[in-house]
């Protein structure tokens, strides 16, 4: 019986309390010692053949009879007022059927901002849309639209935008202190006063662009009053809801389909403006319309990981116990957007009674931001774990020892114990695999480094008219003598080891529903309204259903990615699909199994309680001769299809469900050329029970590689003079190539999280990207003796750090010559 329950659900690092309908009592998780034969197997993807042979159809592959093509004209200016627009030239292009602008766009129930605005706040903002018989005509027509813009003052630099006299994206200003996300636990003033050691640091991270292989886009088709949309989306049900609202349609008249996906990474969570535009043009022309964005549009207007400016301050007693953490974040969200929980790691990762985090959104005349794989936590981990290594240096402690000293057994913001936390184990396994002990004996940096000098660093930044409660005007960086280096290295190369920790949600939650249909030949169809955004959802769900029904995985077919295929599935984001939809599929399979056993009971003249379903047979426990093959049983039912229903149960109330992990990086830095070479990454994560080690390994490697891009090369570049993006293509926006990928060793901490859900499994999509950049930066710190503060670690930044190192060395040498001993005491400031 469906039942209304209240539960806490975490998505992308933020908690939401909501009412959800759940379908009956949940099953207990498979116990730790249960031998599972389908779950846990490294099965290749069930749709691998379709993908490699090209029969898998992505949104770009959709071709419909009579289909038209649309393109969008976008603002060339970062900030402008639209004075006048004349589309007559475009309409005169042969093959063009219609042009939409702010002047003729119909009224919609669309909850978003206007589809075509008259104040354009970023390069790439929609100005008009053209629909034509082919893409070439539509593209040519864009050039024929005559637009008069009044350019307005713009701001594209995060540090400039927080200044009071900066050009304003909105009349209210670029930073709103009222809308800041502020978290306080305990009293940080008190905490810093109790500290024996205080370290502080500024960090900058760059805007990262998703660059999914498959660009954003939709194909929209009307059939009478019904709208069908093939969309590149992470949430078919979300798009259905918004489109029904926009066009005033009953929900059952909107169908959204996403069968195969070339990546989303958080940028395809909402309903695209291009989708609404395509649907409008399709309605207007009475023909299907395809609207796909190109790589440039993708990099201007479909979201990004916001760049950040962070100030962090840690206080600790001399034994390493943290007494206070203060973390202040300014995030460049673009023309509009959200601040991801950059302060999340500071709030949660370490046991600390006094914590304050402040997260400010800073508007810029750049495209709006969006979620990007572990939004906020990637950036925040760079700052927190960088500062922790500073603290380790200041205290003369091993970085892992310092982290263990502050190990948190409870989720402090919620004051709940963790359902499971394998972080200690992750540290142990990772340290062993990486040879962390070498850091202390031969070769690597000595445990206690000599602090050579302190250097003036960057300034502190505060929202308009408000001084941050802590933090001085400038931050000093430590410069340390590196220790002995391994003998196999030439003198101009330095090797370093670094590590960083990971905390994230990934526990999922309701609502998520599924149906399991058992066909007369005992094959099974799983139907659920989730989507596979490329992570292997089809495969994993097939394994779960096959396990519960004890049938071969090949006998299961999973229908998803279609609002008409199955019941509601949540957005594929927040690493929640396996932990949300998986348990619903298991519950539905269990429901089907119960019905099958009941049917068998009457056929076998046995009691339900006596029967077991095993290896495709229902039989009386202990008397296998009294049994019936599943296939025989279902055949007896004629054309009846046994249908099981299942839903994700509520989240546990007495524990907090999280994923954990640690990554270790080994780097070599060339002192002569500033090249940073990551030679090895060890990734150890705890995501509970692993359903498929093969798809998990793809996730871990993908996360690490995307993290390496963030650490080393990926950076949106903007021209300060025109406010336009210079790196809107794959030549100038540098994602890692195959040759940039180091050895990646990864291990999942064994064990299931039995309290999390009926699978004991948690998400693995986002965790692996979280600590990579921080681990790499800390390894570079270890190699150079100077902590990197700005990512990515491109040559200009690394060579500048090396220069500062050399200057410090010269200063010390000069000091030594004049008889003043400066080197020596490591310690505090």
């Amino acid at each position: 019986m469906p039942e209304l329950r209240k539960t806490v659900v975490e998505i992308e690092g933020r908690l939401h309390e909501e009412y959800v309908v759940v379908d009956g009592e949940d099953l207990p998780a498979w116990p730790e010692d249960r031998v599972l034969s389908r779950v846990g197997q490294p099965l290749p993807r069930v749709d691998a053949r379709a993908k490699v042979t090209g029969t898998a159809r992505f949104t770009h592959d959709i071709q419909l009879p009579g289909m038209l093509h649309a393109r969008i004209l976008r603002s060339p200016h970062p900030h402008a007022r639209l004075r006048r627009i004349d589309v007559s030239g475009a309409l005169a292009v042969p093959g063009v059927l219609a042009v939409l602008t702010h002047e003729n766009v119909p009224e919609l129930g669309w909850p978003g901002r206007p589809l075509f605005d008259t104040v354009l706040r970023y390069q790439g903002a929609e100005v008009a849309a053209v629909v034509a018989v082919d893409e070439a005509a539509a593209t040519d027509a864009l050039d024929k639209i005559s637009v008069e813009y009044e350019p307005l003052p713009f701001v594209v630099d995060l540090e400039a935008a927080v200044e009071p006299d900066a050009p304003r994206v909105y009349p209210e200003g670029n930073v709103s202190a009222d809308e800041a996300s502020v978290y306080v636990r305990g009293d940080t003033d008190q905490g810093f006063a109790e500290a024996d050691v205080v370290v502080e640091a500024n960090f900058r991270t760059a805007a990262q662009l998703h660059n999914c292989f498959e660009t954003h886009g939709s194909v929209c088709s009307w059939d009478g009053g019904r709208l069908t949309v093939w969309d590149s989306t992470q949430h078919v049900f979300g798009v259905r809801k918004t489109l029904a609202q926009a066009f005033g349609l009953p929900m059952h008249d909107v169908r959204v389909i996403k069968q195969f996906m070339g990546g989303g990474f958080g940028s395809k969570g909402g309903t695209g403006r291009y989708t609404v535009i395509a649907a409008l043009l399709a309605r207007q022309t009475g023909r299907p319309v395809k609207l796909l964005l190109d790589r440039r549009e993708e990099n201007l207007a479909t979201g990004h990981r916001h760049n950040t400016l962070q100030y962090i301050k840690l206080g600790a007693r001399s034994d390493g116990t943290l007494t206070a953490i203060y973390h202040q974040v300014f995030a460049g969200v673009g023309a509009w957007g959200w601040v991801a929980p950059v302060g999340g790691p500071a709030r949660e990762l370490y046991r600390c009674p006094n914590v304050k985090t402040e997260e400010y959104a800073v508007c810029l005349n750049l495209g709006p931001d969006s979620a990007f794989r572990a939004p906020g936590y990637v950036e925040g981990t760079v700052a927190l774990e960088g500062a922790m290594d500073d603290l380790a240096v200041a205290l003369g402690m091993d970085p892992i020892e310092l982290r263990l000293r502050n190990y948190a057994d409870t989720n402090q913001p919620r004051n709940l114990p963790y359902s499971g936390k394998g972080l200690r184990e992750a540290y142990r396994i990772g340290a062993e695999l990486m040879g962390w002990h070498l850091r202390e004996t031969t070769g690597y940096l000595p445990r206690k480094r000599t602090i050579l000098a302190t250097l003036g660093g960057g300034g502190n930044h505060s929202p308009e008219g408000e001084q941050p409660p802590a933090g001085p005007g400038g931050v000093e960086d430590l410069v340390c003598w590196p220790g002995t280096q391994p003998e196999d290295l030439p003198p101009h190369r330095r090797r370093g080891l670094g590590m960083a920790s990971q905390i994230w949600g990934g526990g999922g939650g309701p609502p998520a529903h599924a149906e399991v249909r058992v066909n007369p030949d005992a094959t099974v169809t799983v139907a659920t309204g989730t989507q596979d955004i490329g992570t292997g959802t089809r495969t994993v769900l097939a394994q779960v259903a096959a396990e519960e029904l004890s049938i071969p995985v090949e006998h299961v077919r999973v229908l998803l990615g279609d609002t008409e295929a199955g019941p509601y599935g949540p957005i594929s984001a927040g690493s929640l699909t396996v932990a949300s939809v998986g348990p619903a599929v298991r519950a539905a399979a269990a429901d089907a199994r119960r019905q099958l056993v009941e049917l068998a009971a009457s056929l076998l003249d046995a009691k339900v309680e006596e029967l077991i379903l095993k290896d495709g047979r229902v039989e009386v426990a202990g008397s296998p001769e009294r049994g019936i093959a599943l296939r025989e049983l279902t055949a007896r039912l004629g054309n009846f299809m046994v249908t099981g229903h299942g839903s994700r149960g509520p989240n546990p109330e007495d524990v907090a469900v999280h994923t954990f992990g640690a990554q270790f990086a080994e780097v070599e830095v060339d002192l002569e050329t500033g090249a940073v070479e990551v030679t090895r990454i060890v990734a150890v994560h705890d995501s509970g029970r692993i359903i498929n080690p093969l798809t998990t390994s793809s996730q871990v490697e993908g996360g690490v590689i995307q993290g390496l891009g963030f650490a080393l090369s990926e950076e949106r570049a903007v021209d300060p003079q025109t406010g336009r993006v210079l790196s809107a293509d794959l030549e100038n926006y540098r994602i890692p190539t195959a040759l940039d990928v180091p050895i990646i060793d990864h291990v999942m901490v064994p064990g299931a999280d039995l309290a999390a859900n009926n699978l004991g499994a948690k998400g693995v999509g986002e965790p692996p990207i979280i600590p990579t950049a921080a681990a790499v930066a800390n390894a570079v710190y270890d190699a150079l003796g100077i902590r990197p503060t700005d990512l990515p670690l491109t040559r200009p930044r690394v060579l500048a750090a090396i220069k500062r190192l050399e200057e410090a060395a010269q200063a010390v040498e000069a000091g030594a010559e004049s008889g003043k001993e400066q080197a020596g005491e490591g310690g505090t400031r």
Partner: protein, 338 residues
């Protein structure tokens, strides 16, 4: 993209005739540069004259008296795979191996590689650029981390500060190669060989071209002279990532050692000027001297002599010095790696 005419040329004469007479016609060979420029709308040719099929210009030939003649339509992949190139011109082989990707090298011709347009993101985007006919160079005071250290005279915006993107050009410069240019209407016997460095010119507001070639001029051959016996060569390239990136800075070094003495040294720098930049002063100082740490320091300093950082490319000075130092190490001391 604007519609254009296409002619598959059957002879060089035919191609040159169209190219010299039709304004808006463009030479098309591998197309790895021209097609991307056309698709982005940076250039809008009316007529593409395809010379890929001219088999007469796709060859590798030994020159009498040593050296190698390379037909301009030879692909980079063909050059890369050639044993003579590997054995006698390892700097050239290496410069090709680190160019683009295997797919690009299969398609790109060596002539096209030399004649390619700058990769400057102002030129290739919708930004002010002298090559677009704009009044000012946007990079001079903009995001110029990838731009020139040498040869632009003044960062007043009247001079292009882009760098030449070719890797092979830098190696060929250090090898003192020449290019043979076919001029329309002239008989092949009259085609002149020009030192490779002189093929390039710095674009200015009045002359926004990157080479000395006039319409209809075609680079048909590259001549690499025989190198002194025992010459040692290296090509080092610093990139933003491990592959498929243009040089931040690159160095080609060709050294001839007489025992411990540097009989000859040639140093060409890439990624720092509108052409391969020869560090001539450093070469002179090196010549005839015994290799010593002091000499290496001096060469390194002189290689960067006259560098004029633009703002965001200051890092190229230490990078250049570091690469020169590593190149010297590689060519003077076989026992030590780079």
């Amino acid at each position: 993209m604007k519609p254009f005419a296409y002619t598959a040329a059957t002879s060089l004469d035919q191609a040159q005739e169209i190219l010299s007479e039709e304004w808006g016609s463009r030479l098309y060979a591998g197309g790895t540069d021209l097609l991307t420029l056309t698709k982005r709308g940076t250039v809008s040719p009316d007529h593409l004259v395809d010379i890929k099929g001219l088999a007469d210009f796709r060859y590798l030939r030994h020159l009498t008296g040593g050296g190698l003649a390379i037909g301009a339509l030879t692909t980079l992949a063909e050059l890369e795979a050639n044993r003579t190139v590997h054995r006698r011109f390892p700097a050239l082989a290496r410069s090709i191996a680190v160019t683009g990707t295997p797919q690009l090298r299969n398609r790109a011709t060596v002539g096209g590689n030399l004649c390619q347009q700058p990769r400057c993101w102002y030129y290739r985007g919708d930004f002010p650029c002298l090559l677009h006919g704009d009044e000012v160079c946007g990079a001079a005071k903009g995001e110029n981390a990838y731009h020139a250290l040498f040869g632009y005279e003044s960062a007043d915006g009247n001079r292009c500060v882009a760098v030449h993107p070719s890797d092979p050009a830098v190696a060929l410069s250090a090898l003192e190669a020449e290019v043979v240019v076919a001029v329309p209407g002239e008989a092949p016997v009259n085609w002149e060989a020009t030192p490779i460095d002189d093929l390039f010119q710095q674009p200015t507001k009045d002359f926004p071209g990157t080479t000395i070639l006039n319409p209809g001029d075609v680079v048909v051959e590259i001549r690499v002279p025989e190198q002194p016996k025992g010459s040692r060569q290296v090509y080092l390239k610093a990139m933003d990532r491990a592959a498929w990136a243009f040089a931040l800075v690159s160095v080609a070094a060709v050294a001839t050692l007489d025992g411990n003495r540097l009989a000859d040294l040639r140093l060409a720098l890439g990624g720092v000027a509108y052409k391969p930049w020869r560090a001539r002063h450093a070469e002179e100082i090196a010549r005839g001297h015994v290799v010593s740490p002091e000499l290496v320091d001096e060469i390194v300093e002189l290689a960067a002599e006259g560098a004029m950082p633009l703002g965001a490319n200051e890092y190229k000075v230490p990078l250049l010095k570091g690469l020169v130092r590593q190149a010297l190490r590689a060519v003077t001391d076989e026992s030590r790696g780079i």
